[in-house]
Amino acid sequence: MKKIIVLLLIVSLFLVSCQTDKVTSISEYTQWSSVLKDGEDKTVTILMWGGNESINQYMDGFVSDRLDELYGITLNRVPMNAPEYLAKLISEKKSGTEVGTADLLWINAENFRTAKEGLLIDGPYTELLPNLNTYYDLDASDLSYDSGVPIEGYEGIWGRAQLVFTADSEAPMSYNEFLAYAKENPGRVTYPRLPDDFVGVAFVRNAYYELTGERDIFQTEMTKEEFTTLSEPVMSYFKELSPYLWNEGKAYPSAQAQLDELFKNGEVDLTMGFEIGKTAGLIASGVYEPTVKSFVFDTGTIGNSHYLAVPYNAPEKAAALIVMDFLQSPEAQIEKMKSEVWGDMPAFDVSKVDASILDTLKTIESQPGTLTLEDLTAKRNPEMKAIYIEWIKELWIENIAK
């Protein structure tokens, strides 16, 4: 009995002592050399959405191997959705946990807004990152603002993505055609449910560009009333669409992964996502028929930049920066662009990278069935201010789910 009590005391003392030492703030680093000195041979834990097997393999394979070779860093990838890690960080912040468990986050838009406002991430540090400052266009708008939120050195760009659709049959090429298609083929299309699914929110907010005819207004300040008025044609569109969707619009897929599953099983004719090369990869591995193709609407789809950030309580901040810098290197960016790897657009400036990188870029783009950067850029709608994304979720629940 006594032993148990003593054991319990020791355990609780141990738990308490874990909390004491505080990690240094990232802003204390002024030289990249001191970051390298502190960060080598450490273990970096990255929390990132794990719903795409190709991305997971890129991280666990190429990235892990190269990090180990170059810096002796071990990469520990933990699959976790952004809202979940934010909830975790908020709990840690509330309880005053100074040393957390995660070193890097894959983040953007409204989640970045929350993280920055809640002081859940550390910074600034982007001026330190060598690859970013050498190969990137520092004047690009998405290097200063993420969905209207000033970045101010609190996150490093990782890549650019765009909402793409995947279908086998004759596919609709705009929101109006999508509605017509749904009416002709009731129950054969749908989109992931709001408010929790990232892709579902993107599909709804992308409709704003076609249905309101506005474009630049979504980067400007609007009051909630103004935005609600602007949303009327969009909300009535989705109301009209709803009964023609899968399961008569009574139930929606709970996440993008479920929509993909429905598409694979032939329950719906179309799926969507932010991974441009995913469809090509799934055709190659035999999951999809060779006739399946990916495309963007003629009226454009939302382009979206994604970033990496360091939690305020990351135990290995220097090592986290080294990993971030490596992920931004032309080598890692071009590897991630290959459709059989991930198919994500590189974020570097093509006029600044070496000739060999440019050659690889051209080779990738010349592959059949690949959407070229040019095509995508021509049909790219800009991202909205983060707060509008929140309001769209509320409006959707108000109009569709009630």
């Binding site: 009995m1 148990i4 009590i5 319990l8 959705n81 952004a82 809202p83 979940e84 934010l86 909830a87 908020i90 912040k93 509330k94 309880s95 005053g96 409204e110 989640n111 807004r113 929350t114 406002e117 809640g118 129950g187 449910r193 408010p195 929790d196 399961n247 008569e248 619009g249 009574k250 139930a251 929606y252 709970s254 479920q258 429905l262 099983n265 032939g266 329950e267 929140e390 569709i400 789910a401 009630k402």
Partner: protein, 288 residues
């Protein structure tokens, strides 16, 4: 006296742990629901988060929906589970009985999410049943197979499939211990099988049946993953709304989320007690 003291001391560590973990958690959630989270800049004690939620009609509808689904699922599981347990105690096929018991044990350890996928695999529009009927020419295409699983029916189906093995597992142990003498006497006096169940087995295993039902009810009320996947957008259970609110990236939604948690906890406690009272009376009436 000494024995009593020993008992208390031996139970102390585990009860301390429960008190610290559950009590501590409850205290923190309660504090945050009242608007006190200094690290996020909330400092004023207020009941507005509670009143905000209680004033929303759709929140209350969700809560009633959750209570209804949980009560129906738990009662169905109790009913079917008890009946099967009784049939099994009566059965004389030893091999069959042990096979069923193994299957039930499997059903019990299977996570709820797996049960969702199994139900999808069989009953969705592209599922096995639909395809089989299609091959047999009973439905024209898989599209004309009705939607069975997305909605209340699917949720109840999953809960009941998970609940039945649990009820059987608990109840059959009690029923097996009931002396066969009662039954023999009843039979010589001319009772049939149903009367034996009602007059002998039900009253003697009533406590266990009600207890199993309470556990199922409490779990089904708070569980979110099953309704998250299967619910319709217009009828969402309270736990799904709570989860969405928990995932809401806006920091200002934190106290409201915690208030929802407290409300679910309170409603849970009260309705579990009511559930026990009602089912106890019902079983009592049946066995009279």
């Amino acid at each position: 006296m000494d024995r009593k003291y020993r008992k208390i001391v031996l139970l102390l560590p585990i009860s301390m742990m429960y008190l610290m973990l559950i009590g501590g958690g409850f205290y923190v959630v309660l504090k945050e629901s009242l608007g006190i989270i200094p690290n996020l800049g909330f400092t004023d004690l207020t009941f507005t988060y509670f009143s905000d939620i209680l004033e929303q009609d759709d929140m209350m509808i969700s809560m009633m929906y959750s209570v209804g689904i949980a009560a129906i699922s738990a009662i169905l599981s109790m009913f079917i589970g008890t009946f099967i347990a009784y049939r099994m105690t009566q059965s004389k096929h030893g091999n069959m009985k042990s096979l069923i018991q193994h299957l039930l044990r499997f059903g019990m350890i299977l996570p709820y999410l797996y049960m969702v996928f199994i139900v999808m695999l069989f009953f969705s529009q592209s599922g096995l049943v639909s395809r089989l009927l299609n091959v047999l020419g009973l439905v024209n295409n898989t599209q004309s197979f009705p939607n069975l699983i997305y909605g209340s029916m699917g949720i109840v189906l999953v809960y009941v499939l998970k609940g039945i093995p649990f009820v059987i597992f608990l109840v059959i142990n009690v029923m097996n211990k009931i002396s066969r003498d009662y039954e023999g006497v009843a039979r010589t006096l001319g009772s049939n099988s149903i009367q034996i169940l009602k007059r002998i087995y039900l009253p003697l295993s009533k406590d266990t049946i009600v207890w199993a039902g309470m556990v199922l009810y409490a779990y089904d009320l708070g569980s979110f993953e099953v309704p998250y996947i299967l619910s319709q957008i217009k009828h969402q259970s309270f736990s799904v709304k709570l989860y969405s609110s928990y995932l809401n990236p806006s920091l200002s939604s934190v106290p409201e989320t915690m208030a929802m948690t407290i409300i679910l906890f309170g409603v849970g406690i009260v309705t579990v007690a009511l559930f026990a009272l009602v089912t106890r009376t019902l079983i009592g009436r049946t066995s009279r």
